[in-house]
């Protein structure tokens, strides 16, 4: 049975009603998909290549799972940018979390973060050494646990893009218990897209902007891409047809020579985004230059707690600040996969030394990492005998 890309129950009868509804409405209709694909064929240029970049792990999942690339003309390429929030956490920040956990602080984090390699060890390695590292579903669970166990000190490792940052902002601004502080690793997506747009050797022609980040930030932050870089930019949802519609919109804009910003995901994304969430993020966070694993420092791309919330800042509270870490293990080419410069299959370690069971790079660890997504598909293909 096919998996549900919305992550729900495998049994269609038990899936979320809206998931069923969007499916019934035709967001997975193969006939409509064929018609859109045919139009994309007609709109694609006769000469040259069109290179479209998305920046979301779930977009990569939909594209790979539904074989979207096989429906496209050979000169329309869709590449995966740095859209996996766990993959881009630099080793130095994993090292900080590891150090805190080894000092005896109880560390709460999302499950995906557990196996991400630090310079020397992951949080899972720290756990094996006796550190108290606990997986939570969200920051509210971290708050509840800290309230229940007041004799212990807790740190929540806050990883994620603008989709996740508002939940951290809610809890920080609602007076969390004093025995809980936050190691903030949140990142802002548009500055990373700007960096990709400016990479001359990447030659991108358009962006599929991330749907769920956009429910929060709205459309305005993407305006610079068509205006300054001449790149068609389309915010898209996560059903296979959402992606095909977005590719149609981009190729059409390129065909007409008129790059604009468009919203395909109108059922969830409004122009202004989620104003309340933006207000809370502004109240709680400052924005600073931040390191991204394998990408170096990106200007104004990292959330940090404002001074008024310093009591909840784990770095200050425990005097833990690690500047440098080892982002790439020997042979790992995550830094090239993460910007779509090479495909996972072009990395010599892929599915040899680096597998989902024994990941070497961060891109193979997270379920949203490009290598991990590709590993799943590669392993389900019939094996050559």
């Amino acid at each position: 049975m096919e998996r549900d890309p919305l992550g729900g129950n495998q049994n269609p009868e038990k899936r979320g009603k809206l998931t069923l509804m969007t499916e019934k409405l035709g967001f997975r209709d193969p006939e409509l998909a064929k018609r859109v694909a045919k139009r994309i064929q007609e709109l694609a240029p006769m000469k040259g290549t069109v290179k479209i970049c998305h920046v979301c792990g779930t977009h990569e999942w939909t594209i790979t799972h539904y074989g979207i690339r096989s429906l496209l003309p050979s000169n329309v390429e869709v590449i995966a940018g740095p859209g996996c929030p766990v993959c881009i956490v630099p080793a130095s920040e994993i090292d900080e979390a590891v150090q805190l956990s080894l000092k005896g602080v109880t560390l709460t984090c999302f499950g995906d973060v557990l196996r991400v390699p630090g310079s020397k060890m992951s949080l899972l390695d720290a756990k094996a050494k006796g550190a108290d590292v606990r997986i939570v579903y969200g920051v509210s669970d971290a708050v509840e646990i800290a309230k229940k166990e007041q004799d212990k000190e807790f740190v929540f490792f806050a990883v994620g893009f603008e989709t996740t940052a508002p939940s951290t902002a809610v809890e920080v601004s609602h007076k969390p218990p004093k025995n809980l502080s936050f190691l903030i690793s949140h990142r802002v997506i548009p500055p990373a897209m700007k960096m990709l747009a400016e990479m001359e050797d990447l030659n991108l022609n358009g962006f599929i902007a991330p749907g769920h980040v956009s429910t929060i930030i709205g459309l305005e932050p993407y305006e610079i891409f068509p205006k300054t870089y001449g790149m068609p930019t389309v915010v898209a949802g996560f059903e296979p047809l959402d992606i095909l519609f977005a590719i149609h919109m981009i190729t059409k804009q390129l065909n007409e020579g008129d790059p604009i910003l468009e919203n395909e995901y109108t059922r969830a994304v409004r122009w202004e985004g989620n104003v309340k969430a933006q207000g809370l993020m502004q109240e709680v966070f400052d924005v600073e230059d931040g390191r991204w694993r394998g990408l170096g420092t990106i200007p104004l791309s990292k959330f940090v707690l404002r001074k008024r919330y310093v009591a909840y800042d784990a770095q200050s509270k425990y005097d833990t600040k690690i500047e440098e870490g080892i982002d790439l293990q020997p042979g790992c080419r995550c830094h090239l996969v993460i910007i779509g410069k090479i495909k996972p299959t072009e990395c010599p370690l892929f599915m040899k030394a680096c597998t989902p069971q024994n990941p070497v790079g961060a891109c193979m660890v997270s379920v949203e990492g490009t290598c991990r997504v590709w590993a799943k598909i590669t392993s389900s293909l019939p094996q050559k005998t």
Partner: protein, 83 residues
Amino acid sequence: MKMCLAIPARVISKKEDKAQVDFGGGVLREVNVTLVEAKVGDYVLVHAGYAIQVVDEKEALETISLWNEILSVETKIQKNGAS
């Protein structure tokens, strides 16, 4: 969990900043609704235990019919243009 993923669920009941939501098939969960103005009966996108946006059902319905129309018109223009 996938960290750029948000799953739609219907609001069953609401009390202050908490709501019971239905992911379908009787999968109920309490989520934080501080970030959205959701009413009972609305669909919300849930990410890491927080509703991050209200889903517009009407827009979902309209998207597909709009695309059917766009493709029909474009195909017609293409055919006429080619003849």
